[in-house]
């Protein structure tokens, strides 16, 4: 075991977490991909 446990609440988050791919017990999530697909769709609609 590590000598120091994490004090999770005191951790400072670095980076935009919404841009990241993560995997949890319910599967993997690709927020960035979803946003990109939505953005492309909107652009395609705007271009019409």
């Amino acid at each position: 075991m590590d000598k120091e446990k994490i004090n999770f609440s005191s951790l400072e988050s670095v980076g935009n977490q919404a841009d990241a791919g993560i995997c949890g017990p319910d599967g993997c999530s690709i927020e960035d991909h979803r946003r990109q697909v939505a953005k492309n769709k909107k652009k395609a609609e705007d271009d019409k």
């Binding site: 980076g15 977490q17 990241a20 791919g21 995997c23 690709i30």
Partner: protein
């Protein structure tokens, strides 16, 4: 600097994210001197030892309606990996249990050779994401572990016992007690957190910032 990260061999974003972290560490010249500790985080500790299930079925949890979206996501993951130079054949993945792989990573760590541990982790990711073989199969695990430098007798002893299981459980308990619910999750100097396979530039910027702060503190 000290970096720990919770990860699973069955987690594509852990494969990609940890590679980006290592690349960023190398870029700022701290890779050889900075401990990068792998902490176990099994996404599905109850995954089967054997399966005939396809990865897409596993991805959608059997919901056929989700298949088009899942295919798109899997293709995106594969393109991310290939963009980073990581071999990946996501359609060949055999979604089995990663518990024994985690125990062998603990065996590698016990040898006190970080390079050996990295080789074992990297090889196991390749087995899972590129070789189309089951990471739960003892023959596959033994061949992969021995190929990168672990002793065959040591590997077989671990696989034929429960050795290091408690270490895996301890890592996961620590994650759950700390509120970590997804992987990869990086903790730097017990102060900063990076969640997920962030873009490479995010890892690089964060490490540079922390390195600068450390320099000021030590001045």
């Amino acid at each position: 600097m000290e970096i720990r990260y919770w990860s699973d061999i069955a987690c594509p974003f852990c494969y990609i994210g940890s590679n980006r972290m290592k690349r960023a560490m190398k870029e700022i010249g701290i890779y050889d001197e900075t401990p990068l500790k792998f902490k176990s985080f099994e996404l599905d500790p109850h995954a089967p030892q054997k399966t005939t299930e396809s990865y897409i079925n596993h991805f959608t949890r059997g919901n056929k309606a989700l298949e088009p979206q899942a295919k798109q996501q899997m293709a995106y993951i594969q393109s991310m990996a290939k963009g980073d130079g990581l071999p990946m054949d996501i359609n060949s993945v055999v979604p089995t249990n990663t518990g024994d792989a985690h125990r062998l990573i603990k065996l590698a760590e016990s040898k006190g050779d970080p390079e050996l541990t990295e080789k074992v982790i990297k090889r196991f990711y390749q087995v899972y994401f590129n070789d189309g073989e089951s990471i739960a199969d003892h023959d596959v695990l033994t061949n992969a572990a021995v190929e990168v430098g672990l002793d065959k007798d040591d590997v077989e002893k671990v696989l034929n016992s429960n050795e290091y299981h408690q270490d895996v459980v301890n890592d996961e308990s620590e994650a759950h007690q700390s509120g970590i619910q997804a992987a990869p999750f990086f903790v730097i100097n017990n102060k900063y957190a990076i969640s997920g396979a962030q873009p490479y530039e995010v890892f690089l910027k964060a490490l540079k910032q922390i390195q600068t702060e450390e320099s000021k503190e030590n001045a």
